[in-house]
Amino acid sequence: DVKVTQSSRYLVKRTGEKVFLECVQDMDHENMFWYRQDPGLGLRLIYFSYDVKMKEKGDIPEGYSVSREKKERFSLILESASTNQTSMYLCASSPQGAYYGYTFGSGTRLTVV
């Protein structure tokens, strides 16, 4: 069964901490994506990557960075976590053209206190 795995289901971090959210896919997909999901705002794209070491900003990249050193792994980094980054984070992957949509991970609920 193909899947996208997010390393943590729940995380609690302190303000100012550096936070890493990890995502691994086993489908040899070229594209990987990070979204944050907030009530009433839907899914908003933070960053995506279309190849190893390649990344593009999405709609809300401020306060975040990403890393893709291997094809199967895409990391989201909060350099200095703030309370307004408390949210649900969803990772997804797709082949080069997302004609069939994404495969999603099960999400990481991050709370910054």
Binding site: N31, F33, Y35, G40, L41, G42, L43, L45, F48, Y50, E56, G58, M88, L90, A92, G97, A98, Y99, Y100, G101, Y102, F104, S106, G107
Partner: protein, 114 residues
């Protein structure tokens, strides 16, 4: 740029009844794809149904079907014979070849009552 609008933040349906969730989109592309995703309380996003814009025929997957009105840029989801397990957030999304990412609506929360 594409936009996807879901005008119903919440909907409710009784078990065994039929419900329709609305979605409108805006794109300048001629070749695009539309999706409905379901997110149950477990949070795992599941693809419910997919429509290719160049196909006139409405997609159907068991109890789920769409009403795709290309000229009106409307893509509604009909759930027939609703079941308690259909309770979830439903997201409409659009993808075109000119980009990498799907654009999502804000979601509709569906409540199913016994």
């Amino acid at each position: 740029a594409q936009t996807v609008t879901q005008s119903q933040p919440e909907m409710s349906v009784q078990e065994a009844e039929t419900v329709t969730l609305s979605c409108t989109y805006d794109t300048s592309e001629s070749d695009y794809y539309l999706f409905w995703y379901k997110q149950p309380p477990s949070r795992q996003m599941i693809l419910v149904i997919r429509q290719e814009a160049y196909k006139q025929q409405n997609a159907t997957e068991n109890r789920f079907s769409v009403n795709f009105q290309k000229a009106a840029k409307s893509f509604s989801l009909k759930i027939s014979d609703s079941q308690l397990g259909d309770a979830a957030m439903y997201f409409c999304a659009c993808y075109s070849n000119s980009g990498y990412a799907l654009n999502f609506g804000k979601g509709t929360s569906l409540l199913v009552t016994p």
